[in-house]
Amino acid sequence: MSNSFTPQNAPLNGPSEKTSLRQPLVEMRQIYKTFKSAAGEFIALRNINACFYRGEFVSVVGKSGSGKSTLVNMITGIDRPTSGSVYVDGVCIQELGESAMSAWRGRNLGIVFQFYQLLPMLSLIENVMLPMDLCERFPPAEREARARALLRLVGLEDYADQLPAEVSGGQQQSAAIARALANDPPILIADEPTGNLDSRTAEAVFNIFLGLREQGKTIIMVTHDRSLAQRAGRMLEIADGVLISDSLNGEAPHPSSREAGAV
C-alpha cells in the first residue's frame, strides 16, 4: 500500500519513504499550491510528496519565502492545497469543512506558532485548558490538573496564573507548547517556534521538543535555524516551493529510520 504513495522523483524522497510497510501518519501526495493575486499566480509549492511516520522529529528548513510555512499549513489544514491531497492518520483533511476541520485539528494536532498566539485575556493555565474545553477532551474535573502537569513539563508551574503579557517571550512559547499538548494530540506542528527567541531561550524550547519526541510524539518543526534543524531526526529542505532534500541526521535516529537502515 505504501508503494502507491511513493513519489515519482525518488532521489528527493527521504529514506523514511522506503522505511516499511507501516502506515505513514502524515502523507502528502502531489501537492501544488498556487496563490492567485491581482498580480498573477505565484506557485508556492510544486509537486510535494512526503510521508511522516509516528515518532519522527522532522525539521523543515528553507529560506524565507521558500514555501516551508505553506507546506506545514497544508498539514495543519490552515491552508488547502490547490491540487493533491493530504492524509493525516487516514483522514483526507481537505475534505473537511472549516468548522469540522477546526474540531478535528483540536484533537489531533498541536500547533505552535512563531508569535506564540496565546490569548492575552486568559492566564497561562487557562490558555492550556482552553483546547480541552473546546474539544471536550478529558472530564472537566481533570482538566485543571492536567494543565498544571503540562505547565510543569515546560517548567512554568510557578507562572500558571500569570497573564501572557506578564511573562517573557520564551515562557510564552513554552506555554504555547503546553497548550499544543493539551488534548494529547499525536502530532505537534511548530512554525518557527524559536524565530522570535534569543539563542538561550530557543535552546530551552528546542529541548522541550526533544523531550516530547522521547515520549513518542511526532513533531514537525519549521525553522530557518540550520543548526537546530540538524539536531532533529530528519530534515527536509525546501527551496522555491520544491522539496530539494530529505535527509536523516546522525543524531537521535528514531525507530522508523533504523528500520530504513535495515532494509
Binding site: A103, Q117, R179
Partner: protein, 804 residues
C-alpha cells in the same frame, strides 16, 4: 494632481465603505434628530404665535346684557379701541347619534357678515354660513358624527329642536382663549351661524349681541394696557345703559395652547441636548476604533517622515468629510420627517400650521454641528492615536497596555466556574476599558432616554386617570333652570341603576383685584362639602371640609397668574353683582395652566353667599356597579333624560363622566404621542451606536478567532463566544440605563409638569420601557455581533494569522 495624503483620505473613505457608512450613519442619526427637533421647535413656536396673531384675535372680550349694533359703533370710539364687533353666543345641544346629545357652543357672526376680529380659516365647505346653516370648528368636528351637507338636530335650552345644515369646517384660533371658558381641550363643539339663524333659533331680541370683541391700539400684549382700555369701555357701556357681566383680556400672540407648546418645547430642547451628547459619545467611540485599525498606517506615515500635526490634520480631514456627508444626508431627511410630524400635532393643539418651508437656521445648525461636533468628539482618539510611537504602531503592541493589573482586572481574573470560552468573552468585554466605558455610556444614555420616555408617558397617563377623579360621576345632568334639589333627587333615586346623586352648585364670578378693579372670570364649582364625587389632586393646602365658611380651593392657573396669592389669603369675588370674600384653603391640579380660572367651594357656602333656596341646576349621578363603560354611562344618561322629560323638567345637558375626563386629557395625549416619537428617535441613535460599536469590537477580534480556530474551535463555539460578549455588553448597558433612567425620567417629567401645571410631577414607572429596551438591546447586540463574526469565521486561518 491631488496631494497623496488627500488622496489617502478619500481612498480610506471609499476603501472601507462599511466602516465609513457606520461613522456617517452615527453622525447622520444625531444630526437628523437635532434637525427634526430644531425644525419642530421653530415651526411650532412661530406658527402658534403668528397663526394666532394672524387671526386678529380679540384683546378684550366683554360679556354683557343684550346690546345692539349702535352700541358697538359707539364703543368703537372709546380711546384705545381699534376694532369692535358684537357677537351673539349661546349654548345648546346637538344630537350626535340618535338619542345622544352633546353640548355645542354657538357664535353668531356679525350682521354685516364680515368678521374682522377672530377670523376663522376655512378648512372645507363654505364660509360664512347662510340661513339655517352651521359651520363647525375642526377640532371637535368628528364628535358631531355628521358630514358636510348633512343636517344636525339642535336642542335649545327651551327644549325645542331645530335642524341645521352643516356647510363648512373652519379652524378658529381663539377656541378656549378666554379664562372664563374651560380651556381649549375642554371646550365643547363650536358652531358658527349667522344672525338670521340666531333669530330663527332663539326667536327673541332680534339683532342684539351679548358679547363684545375688541382689539386695541398700542401695545396689545401688555395686560395692564388691555385692562385700562377694557375698563374704559365698561364705563362707557354702563353709562350708556348696558350691563357688563364679565370682562376678559388676552394678548395678540397669546395662543390658548401656548403652555402646551412650552411644555413640548422644553421636552424637545432637553432631548435634543441629550441626543447631541449621545451622538458625541458615539462618534468618539467609532473614531477610537478606526484610529485603532489605522495604527499601522499611522506608523508607516511616521516612518516616511510625517509629523504629528500632519497626522492629526489628516484624520480631521477625514472626519470633516464624514461630517459634511452626514449633514448632507441628515438635513433633507430631518426636513421630511419633521414636517410630516407637525401636521397631526398642529391639529391637536389647534395650531395654524403654515406649511413646510426652508429654515436656514436649522440647516445652519445641522451643518455647523455636522462639521464641528464630530471634530470635538474625535479629538481625544485622534490626539491619542497620533501620539503613539512608530515602533508600537508598527508592531501593534501598546507598551502602556502591558502588564498592569488593576483591582478590577484581578477580580475578573479570579472569576471561577466558567468555561474557558466563556471566560474569554467575559475578559474580552473588560479588556479595553476605555472603549467599554464609551460604548456603555452611549448605549446606556440612549437606553435611559428611551426608558424615561415610557415612564413619562405612563406618568402622564396616570395623571389623566387622576383627572378623571374630578369626574367620578357617571352622568352629569344640567337643567335649564334651578330646580328644588330634594325633588330632583327623589325623582332620580328610584330610577333603576342609579346608586347615588349629588346636587352641585355652579357660578360664574369675577375676581376683584387688590386695587379694587375687576379681574378675570372665575368658574366656581360647588359640590356638597362632603362630596363623594371629587377626589382632587392637591398641590398645596387642603380641600373644602364640611363646616368651612367661605372656603375656596383654586386651580393651578391661579398659581401661575397670581403668584402672590397664598393659602390662607383672602380672595374677593363678585357673584351676582355682589362682592364677597373667600378664604383660600388650598390649590389643586386639573387640566393644566392653559385651562381657565377654576375654583371649588362647598355648595353650602355658595348657597349662603347667594342667599338662595335649596335649588340646583347641576346634578351628578353615580350608577350601581363600578367602572361603567362609556356605552353604559350613555344608556344611563338616556334613562335620566327620559325620566326628566316625563316629569316635565327641561334638561340643558346630559354628559357622561368619561366624556369629560377624555376631553380634559386630550392635550396630554398629544404630548405622550409626541414623547413616543422622540423615544423611537433616541432608540434609533442608540441602536446605530450599538451596532457600530459591536461590529468594530468583533472586527478587532479577528486574530483571536483565527487562533481559536487553530486550536480546535468550531463555528458554534466561535459564534457563542462573540454573542456572549455582545450580549454581556448589551446587558451591562441595560443595567446602567435602568439606573440612569430614574433621574432622566424625573427630569423629563418635571419639565413637562412644570410647563403644564407649574409644579413638579408625580412620577410613575412602567416596566414597559425597561423590558422593551432589554429586548431591543439584546437583539441588537446579538445582530451587531453575529454579522461581523460570520465574516470572521469565513476567513481562513492563514489570512487571519498572516502576521502583518
Amino acid at each position: 494632481m491631488m496631494r497623496p495624503r488627500v488622496r489617502k483620505i478619500l481612498a480610506d473613505l471609499w476603501g472601507n465603505r462599511l466602516r465609513s457608512l457606520l461613522v456617517i450613519a452615527s453622525i447622520t442619526v444625531g444630526l437628523f434628530a437635532i434637525g427634526v427637533i430644531a425644525t419642530l421647535h421653530q415651526v411650532m413656536t412661530e406658527d402658534l404665535r403668528l397663526g394666532y396673531a394672524a387671526a386678529n384675535p380679540p384683546n378684550i372680550r366683554i360679556v354683557a346684557a343684550p346690546f345692539d349694533q349702535g352700541m358697538v359703533d359707539h364703543l368703537r370710539k372709546v380711546e384705545g379701541v381699534r376694532q369692535a364687533e358684537g357677537l351673539r353666543g349661546f349654548d345648546a345641544r346637538l344630537e350626535s347619534e340618535p338619542g345622544e346629545w352633546i353640548g355645542i357652543e354657538f357664535k353668531a357672526v356679525p350682521q354685516d357678515e364680515v368678521r374682522q376680529i377672530a377670523q376663522v380659516r376655512l378648512v372645507k365647505g363654505k364660509w360664512p354660513p347662510g340661513d339655517r346653516e352651521v359651520v363647525i370648528e375642526q377640532y371637535k368636528f368628528a364628535d358631531i358624527h355628521a358630514q358636510l351637507g348633512e343636517w344636525i338636530t339642535i336642542e335649545l335650552p327651551s327644549g325645542e329642536r331645530r335642524p341645521l345644515k352643516v356647510v363648512g369646517v373652519v379652524s378658529d384660533q381663539t377656541v378656549g382663549a378666554f379664562a372664563s371658558g374651560p380651556g381649549f381641550f375642554l371646550a365643547p363643539v363650536q358652531g358658527y351661524i349667522n344672525q338670521e339663524t340666531v333669530e330663527w333659533l332663539q326667536q327673541d331680541l332680534p339683532y342684539t349681541y351679548n358679547m363684545l370683541y375688541l382689539t386695541v391700539d398700542g401695545d396689545a400684549n401688555n395686560e395692564e394696557h388691555l385692562w385700562e382700555v377694557a375698563n374704559r369701555v365698561r364705563d362707557e357701556l354702563e353709562r350708556a345703559g348696558g350691563a357688563v357681566i364679565n370682562i376678559a383680556v388676552r394678548g395678540s400672540y397669546d395662543h390658548p395652547n401656548r403652555r402646551y407648546l412650552e411644555a413640548l418645547a422644553i421636552v424637545l430642547v432637553l432631548l435634543g441636548f441629550l441626543i447631541v451628547f449621545l451622538s458625541g459619545f458615539l462618534i468618539t467611540n467609532t473614531m477610537q476604533a478606526i484610529i485603532q485599525q489605522q495604527m499601522q498606517q499611522i506608523g508607516i506615515l511616521k516612518t516616511l517622515g510625517s509629523r504629528r500635526y500632519q497626522i492629526i490634520l489628516l484624520y480631521m480631514g477625514l472626519i470633516l468629510i464624514f461630517g459634511a456627508v452626514a449633514a448632507l444626508a441628515a438635513a433633507p431627511l430631518a426636513y421630511q420627517v419633521a414636517f410630516q410630524r407637525v401636521v397631526p400635532l398642529a391639529q391637536t393643539i389647534n395650531m395654524a400650521y403654515r406649511g413646510p418651508r426652508f429654515l436656514p437656521g436649522v440647516i445652519l445648525l445641522q451643518v455647523g454641528m455636522g462639521l464641528l461636533a464630530p471634530q470635538l468628539a474625535a479629538l481625544a482618539p485622534i490626539l491619542q492615536g497620533s501620539r503613539i510611537s512608530v515602533r508600537e504602531a508598527l508592531s501593534g503592541i501598546r507598551e502602556s497596555q502591558q502588564a498592569r493589573r488593576s483591582w478590577f482586572d484581578r477580580m475578573i481574573l479570579r472569576l471561577r466556574g466558567f468555561s474557558r470560552p466563556t471566560l474569554i468573552s467575559i475578559r474580552n468585554t473588560f479588556r479595553r476599558k476605555g472603549r467599554l466605558i464609551l460604548t456603555l455610556v452611549t448605549l446606556s444614555l440612549g437606553g435611559a432616554i428611551f426608558i424615561a420616555t415610557f415612564n413619562v408617558q405612563v406618568s402622564m397617563d396616570r395623571y389623566v386617570d387622576m383627572v378623571s377623579r374630578y369626574f367620578l360621576a357617571d352622568v352629569n345632568l344640567t337643567l335649564t333652570r334651578p330646580e328644588r334639589t330634594l325633588e330632583i333627587i327623589q325623582m332620580l333615586s328610584d330610577l333603576p341603576g342609579v346608586a347615588y346623586i349629588e346636587a352641585w352648585g355652579t357660578a360664574r364670578s369675577e375676581m376683584i383685584l387688590p386695587d379694587g378693579s375687576t379681574g378675570e372670570n372665575v368658574q366656581l364649582l360647588a359640590p356638597p362639602a362632603n362630596s363623594r364625587l371629587v377626589d382632587p389632586v392637591l398641590i398645596e393646602g387642603r380641600w373644602v371640609k364640611p363646616g368651612d365658611q367661605n372656603a375656596i380651593v383654586l386651580n393651578e392657573r391661579f398659581m401661575s397668574d397670581f403668584p402672590y396669592l397664598r393659602v390662607g389669603d383672602t380672595l374677593r369675588l363678585r357673584l351676582n353683582g355682589k362682592e364677597t370674600d373667600w378664604v383660600i384653603v388650598g390649590y389643586f391640579q386639573l387640566a393644566g395652566r392653559s385651562s381657565g380660572l377654576l375654583a371649588y367651594t362647598s355648595r353650602e357656602s355658595l348657597l349662603r353667599v347667594l342667599n338662595q333656596p335649596d335649588k340646583a341646576m347641576t346634578y351628578r349621578i353615580v350608577a350601581e356597579g363600578e367602572d361603567l363603560s362609556k356605552e353604559e354611562q350613555e344608556a344611563l344618561g338616556r334613562a335620566i333624560e327620559a325620566r326628566m322629560a316625563a316629569r316635565g323638567i327641561r334638561v340643558l345637558d346630559v354628559t357622561t363622566g368619561s366624556y369629560l375626563s377624555n376631553s380634559a386629557a386630550q392635550g396630554f395625549a398629544a404630548l405622550t404621542g409626541f414623547l413616543l416619537f422622540l423615544a423611537s428617535l433616541t432608540a434609533l441613535v442608540g441602536s446605530i451606536g450599538l451596532t457600530g460599536a459591536m461590529s468594530l469590537n468583533v472586527m478587532e477580534r479577528t486574530r483571536e478567532i483565527g487562533v481559536l480556530r487553530a486550536i480546535g474551535a468550531t463555528n458554534r463555539i466561535l459564534m457563542r463566544l462573540v454573542l456572549t460578549e455582545g450580549m454581556l455588553i448589551g446587558f451591562l448597558s441595560w443595567i446602567i440605563a435602568t439606573l440612569a433612567a430614574i433621574p432622566i425620567s424625573k427630569l423629563l417629567s418635571d419639565s413637562i409638569s412644570l410647563a403644564l401645571f407649574g409644579n413638579p410631577s408625580t412620577l410613575a414607572y412602567t416596566p414597559t420601557g425597561f423590558l422593551l429596551w432589554l429586548g431591543a438591546v439584546l437583539i441588537l447586540s446579538a445582530l451587531a455581533s453575529i454579522l461581523p463574526a460570520r465574516n470572521a469565521t469565513r476567513l481562513t486561518i492563514r489570512e487571519v494569522l498572516a502576521y502583518e
